[in-house]
Symmetry: D2
């Protein structure tokens, strides 16, 4: 952290893991993970899908709640003023780009729902699901770090959750904004960690070792 | 913008100014603007207060609604898990660090209210005020760019507003996160502009020229 | 109004129609309008669907925005603790009981979306749509008066909208709670009106006369 | 419950008390409890304050979180279009009518905050406080039953909480809307109970017996 930030008292507190975790999976939809779509060729995101998949295997076995969202709209009339072409043109209810990537999709276990803004929390049913499960800790995965992950982490923090971001489970278009945003979040809102640490925490010691090997 | 971001279709749309603007002033409270407080010695923020003050003079004369918030809590029990020392220790109802800086304060004209999270929108009465005024365009000012401004811009966008950020009316602890966050927002959610352009837009041509001279 | 309520100053203000209206259609889904479903035999609701259909014809011709929602869940895990059997057992994504009644459905014109709580506003994308259209006035239709209509009217009021409830466009299981809830809302939050008056207001003078004949 | 409501499957499920309760105290502010104010002479509310006070004594001793709100505005500009005279004219920040009644006020223990709409949840920091305490059950007290209590219960239910309403801890201007609204809530959203039962549940057996004697 910069000297100025340190002097101002940022990053001066460690968030402890709580008593009931949930995994949030933000926008691992084909638009970002399948090269058939205009934004779908993102190597950092592709790697994050694979790492998240390992984390989810352990979480589901351990009975940890998982909430997985995609972004879609009814028409341009209900859409915020996105400056991103593919969102404006393709992110509509039922479009194939809104399907969750099969590597992380589990229709039986997960709460899968539609969101309409960057944050997985913004005007979605997510808190009802989390409150019913008495969740106090959220592990945020998905894409992209400098967009919907940043927005989701701010909201998770604002709602009072203990927020953990495994940096290998979130991906971006480029390396630099990925790291810039992890830095901004680490100073204020969240602990930056990795898939292996989260897997060990959820009880999957061997799986944690495998995840650590990448 | 990076080649990768451009190729993915980011920043491919310009947001037009709408029919009814409002100015949002985020956290220009003494905690960030008065050197008596631990985070109060931030030159970029100090400059932003001065530029915002010029913009507000014109806005108030033109009858443009202004909403100005500060961050404060009842006790640690209702506070998100801030990693920032001064917030944890001093941001309580009635503490002097929660007073709005007199350079931007106008108790007669502005809607002044308390918020409890990074975003000026998060669980606050702001949208009721904006809806009553049929606002479709918000000009976001305040501090700090990589914290509460970023959060407020995401929410303003998510609510469907046309979002403008005058870069000289927002400030940060350091230059780099200031620019990193303006870059991230410009790609997706908002138009980055300056005080002079916003003043001209609100009808204060001479004041715009003065603001442009800094 | 009772003497006690009058003495306490309730109902002492008339809400004026504003500059931009929208119609909200709450839960006119087959669960409540088709006798094939356990709650689908409700004569007051059936009549309200017919009256709302006339209002919507005029609204759509006049270019008035229409937002129409249904209630559905991913699984019991994301559902509030409903004490209503059919909701607990059938209101799931894709279930036929969640389809909008064809008498009021217009996929081309309307914003059609899913909600997960009594209110059409609660954690849904509705305000983004209304803000983009600079709506200041909402006409609330749908079912049932003492459930999702009451909840939606409270939220519309809370968001700062001018709220109008045409009493023949909302229906209930029984007459008494229908009237009890109209009474409670009229004292505090909304103007109680009818389809004919709303149609005349939206410019359909002849259609208003037809609606008045029922 | 009416035959029609029973046949439609309403009220067909009992909500169980959960693992962590909180007490919500809605608008027991002097405006409704002190005869110095135009709405302050409400015998049903006065009795509810006394019963709630007994419940709160036990709750605080047992370490149960308590959240207590009042309604106030910065100016008419941020106020929904209330049809209630005293709200429009007196409910402003700092006005004496916004002080919590001393019989239920405990600045040390309770989370005391301002709200701006009927519901204690609507755009307030309440959920952050409840999430941090892992609350799954809320006991709703306050006034008035057919106004802010009804709104608060709908929202508590919508957020996924187990909702209990002790009928002697909520009061109204008149008996009839009090009972009408308890009936509507009991069918859908909440268990109607009394102070004595809630006190016994929170562990205060002797205090429960005293509350039962009124």
């Amino acid at each position: 952290m910069s000297e100025n930030y340190k002097a101002a008292g940022y990053g001066s507190f460690d968030i402890e893991f709580g008593q009931q975790a949930a995994i949030l999976v933000v926008d691992f939809q084909l638009a970002f993970t399948d090269t058939a779509f205009p934004m779908g060729d993102l190597p950092l995101v592709d790697k994050a899908v694979d790492q998240t998949s390992k984390l989810l295997d352990v979480a589901r076995s351990a009975g940890v709640p998982v909430a997985s969202c995609y972004t879609a709209y009814n028409s341009p009339k209900d859409m915020p003023l996105w400056k991103v072409a593919a969102v404006r043109e393709e992110f509509f209810y039922g479009h194939p780009c809104t399907e969750i990537d099969p590597r992380v999709h589990d229709a039986e276990h997960d709460f899968v729902f539609c969101k309409n803004a960057p944050s997985i929390f913004f005007n979605t049913p997510l808190t009802t699901f989390l409150i019913k499960h008495r969740v106090d800790t959220v592990i945020v995965t998905g894409c992209v770090t400098s967009g919907c992950i940043r927005a989701s982490v701010i909201d998770a923090f604002s709602h009072g959750y203990r927020v953990f971001v495994p940096e290998d489970c979130v991906g971006d278009v480029d390396e630099r904004p990925h790291h810039d945003n992890l830095r901004d979040m680490a100073r204020r809102y969240a602990e930056i960690t990795d898939a292996a640490a989260m897997i060990r925490r959820l009880g999957g010691v061997e799986a944690g070792a495998r995840a650590a090997r990448g």
